[in-house]
């Protein structure tokens, strides 16, 4: 059988301004048969997206195919132009992009975006195109397809949009689909549906799917074969089950080991680099300064949240006509001293709103928040604000790009008068940087000089500056690669043990929650549906929704388990 995609010795280069070249993809071989899903896995910068772009003829301007060959359905890509005689992107290769919120044009209807490809590539009229569009919407499982043809993207949910994107990819019956992180921007329950859809379409229509992803759970869920990439090279390739259960290359092994397991709680996640003596010394100095002694761990709650309600709404001039959206409905929980308390739920469930309310960024409509026995209102004493610090989700936008790192870290230290003078504050900043595993000299640089994981370390160092007794971490690792995530999770655990910090830890990733938290609350639609000790919650979930979430979370372990039962 003719492979739908055959890549041989592919090399993609970007000429650099200084005359050198950056090799983005180096000597890649890959074959994809009809109906097969082949996952291309790696961390950011591994070159996996570049491979997808190369075969769709979408390489950005200076980038070029330097060597090797790509053939799609037996037809060769001209490596000089990046295009193929007889192969048209859209008609013969379909594309699915990562974020369904931005890959559809907001100003055009679903029908227009579905039909334009067919009108351009197939010699059919508008009426026929519309009929096909309707069939496609049915095939991807969109309810009320007739009505949805006339909808605009903003009227659809994220999952529905991704279904529309898949429908456009299928519109001209391509033999090959390149799906670049197709479910990364989606909630677990939607992710499960979309993955199933892709699997079914591959089976029924005999389409080959090149699945670019960084999520091992997704690979375990649907891929037949997998190729692991690092720095533009293939480190391991083989059947998905074989590679995931018994990786041979050292990098593949660390990468798979860094994935936090959902089935079992580990003391620490295995990461290659451990702490240096400088780090340990810096941490000792952070501990000695900490105002919370690690020993005073008792059951007295640090944070008490009672019947918290938050409403967002538009006020109307007519009384009683205001329409309010209840983001948080009567939420109550305690966080004990030295405890990591998890909040888990899908997007829109209100978990971030709870965090923002506690941090004082959102005003609650009713309910109370007590921190260290004092009610938190809109106006707070400086000492309370100091004790409660926050780490945000996106490390790229959380740091001021025009501030040197040590100035950014020293700023809150000076604000709370924790250092005698600016020089001392800078010294403290350097110690904090070492405590989070960066070098003290890193502070002289600006945020753009650091990777995502390093930036998140800086954000944590900044939050530790005011010597808080509690950290609010809102999805601190969701923007990061697995190996970086593992390092950061270990770091946060160390800091808790070190300084007796309490943490409110927010995540949508159940595996991360299991690794990190002592107790967990599951939120849905603004309410807590289940609150329990982490181990209890994972071993014996009580609420249906919790069970549903656990069942749908893509996991590496499932593939291992099914193999065990098979054996």
């Amino acid at each position: 059988m003719l492979p739908v995609l055959d890549i041989k010795n592919l090399r993609v280069e970007y000429p650099l301004a200084n005359g050198g070249t950056l090799v983005a993809v180096n000597d890649i071989d890959l074959t994809l048969r009809p109906g097969e899903i082949h996952a291309l896995v790696g961390e950011s910068g591994a070159g996996k997206t570049t491979v997808g772009n190369a075969l769709m003829g979408l390489l950005q301007a200076p980038g070029r195919i330097a060597a090797g060959s790509i053939s799609i359905a037996g037809k060769q890509i001209n490596t000089r132009t990046g295009r193929t005689e007889g192969i048209v992107p859209g008609r013969d290769v379909g594309a699915i992009f990562q974020d369904p919120m931005t890959s559809l044009n907001p100003l055009f209807t679903v029908e227009s975006q579905l039909c334009e490809g067919m009108l351009a590539h197939l010699k059919i009229g508008r009426r026929e195109a519309r009929a096909r569009a309707l069939d496609l919407l049915k095939a991807v499982g969109i309810p009320e397809p007739e009505r949805r043809l006339g909808s605009y993207p903003h009227q659809l949910s994220g999952g529905q949009r991704q279904r529309v994107v898949i429908a456009t990819a299928l519109a001209c019956d391509p033999k090959l689909i390149v799906a670049d992180e197709p479910t990364t921007a989606l909630d677990v329950s939607v992710q499960a549906q979309i993955l199933k859809l892709i699997r079914d379409l591959a089976d029924e229509r005999r389409v080959g799917v090149l699945l670019v992803t960084h999520n091992m759970g997704v690979v375990a869920e649907i891929a037949d074969r997998v190729t692991i990439m690092q720095n533009g090279c293939v480190v391991e390739s083989g059947s998905a089950r074989g590679v995931l259960t018994g990786p041979k290359a050292p990098y593949a092994r660390t990468l798979i080991a860094a994935v936090p397991p959902i089935e079992i709680r580990l003391e620490r996640l295995p990461v290659p680099s451990e702490e240096t003596p400088a780090t340990l010394k810096a941490r000792e100095s952070v501990r000695s300064k900490s105002r919370v002694s690690a020993e005073s761990k008792d059951d007295e709650p640090v944070l008490t949240v009672r019947d918290l309600c938050v409403e967002y709404g538009q006020r109307s001039f007519l009384p009683g006509r205001a329409s309010a959206f209840k983001a948080v409905k009567s939420v109550s929980f305690d966080v004990k001293r030295g405890e990591i308390f998890g909040l888990v739920g899908e997007s829109g469930c209100g978990k971030t709103t709870v965090a923002n309310t506690i941090a004082g960024l959102v005003t609650p409509s009713s309910g109370s928040v007590h921190f260290q026995g004092v009610a938190l209102g809109a106006r707070r004493k400086k000492s309370l604000r100091q004790s409660l610090q926050m780490v945000f989700q996106d490390p790229y936008s959380a740091l001021n790009p025009r501030m040197r790192i040590n100035a950014a870290i020293a700023e809150p230290i000076l604000f709370y008068r924790l250092a005698a003078n600016a020089a001392q504050a800078r010294e403290d900043a350097a110690t904090l940087l070492e405590a989070v595993g960066l070098s003290g000299q890193a502070g002289e640089r600006f945020a753009h000089a650091f990777s995502g994981g390093q930036r998140q370390r800086i954000a944590i160092a900044r939050a530790l500056g005011p010597q808080p007794s509690m950290l609010i971490c809102d999805e601190p690792t969701s923007a990061l690669d697995v190996s970086v995530q593992a390092q950061l999770l270990n770091l946060l655990k160390d800091l808790r043990d070190l300084a007796g910090l309490s943490m409110l830890f927010i995540s949508h990733d159940l595996a991360v929650i299991r690794q990190m938290c002592d107790r967990v609350a599951v939120m849905k639609g603004g309410e807590i549906v289940e609150l329990a000790e982490t181990e209890t919650l994972f071993s014996a979930p009580q609420h249906d929704y919790t069970r549903e979430l656990l069942r749908l979370a893509p996991s590496l372990d499932r593939i291992l388990k099914t193999e065990n039962t098979a054996a």
Binding site: A95, S103, Y152, V165
Partner: protein, 321 residues
Amino acid sequence: MIRIISMRLFQAILVMIAVTAVAFIMFRFVGDPVATMVREGASQAEKDALRATLGLDKPILMQFVEFAGRVLGGDLGTSFRYQQPVAELLMSRLPATLELVLVATVMSLALGIPLGVLCALKPTGIMSRIIQSATLVGISMPTFVTGLLLILIFAVNLRWLPSSGRGELVNLGGWQTGFLTISGLKAMILPSVTLALFQLTLIMRLVRSEMIDVLSSDYIRFAFARGLPRSYIYGRLALRNTLMPVVTVTGLQIGQLIAFAIVTETVFQWPGMGLLFTNAVGYPDIPVLAAYLLFVGFLFVMINMVVDILYTFIDPRLRTK
């Protein structure tokens, strides 16, 4: 949709009340109208009598309400200088300005949008560099210099086009139009080109920067990944997304042009509203100035409303809710 429009309407009324109040205050504080109206050496009793007939002895709020009532009824007072109702005066000058602005706007959009797209598609090409530097000259040269240069070349040296006035006009039910005669059209060319040059540059640069942003967006990359024809991607998918700010700016610019085409109208002796306004400032003709203020306020409020409504046509996201 109805909610948005009614909201805008409500805001517009508030703004108009504020503008009317300013116009009213202008009457009150720029000289005493009684003093300018009575004959010399009038007795205090005569002055008081006039004050009473004009209603100036009433409480100030009452006077304001009456003033607003007169304005609503279309009575903007009588010009001190021309001794003509101001409303009539404005109406006689309005067509000249509106026609000029219309031609200038169409010209700047018709050239500015394609040039902007061209510059966005080939940002480093020779063509776009030439266009960019040429229009930079256009934007940095004051209007009166451009106007005088054009007069010097096309009217004085080449004698192709008239240097001033509107040429022959045709009266269409009270609207004096220059569109229907050759000399009217010829007279329109130089002033409208002068007026359009600045707009053209503005719109071109706006389209260019907006288009560059849109071209790097995911949905355009997705369109390329689907192999759609380039002309379709640029001309339809990308262009519509760039038009939102262009609509805003064009709307505001039309307002600017109508209200402040003063320099161009002066240079070309174009009998429009700008010329009326400059003369009124020199005199000083308070009723004309006040009416002009009201008119400009009304114009901007209306244009903003139209722009908001146009938004909802271009962007479906604004339609729901």
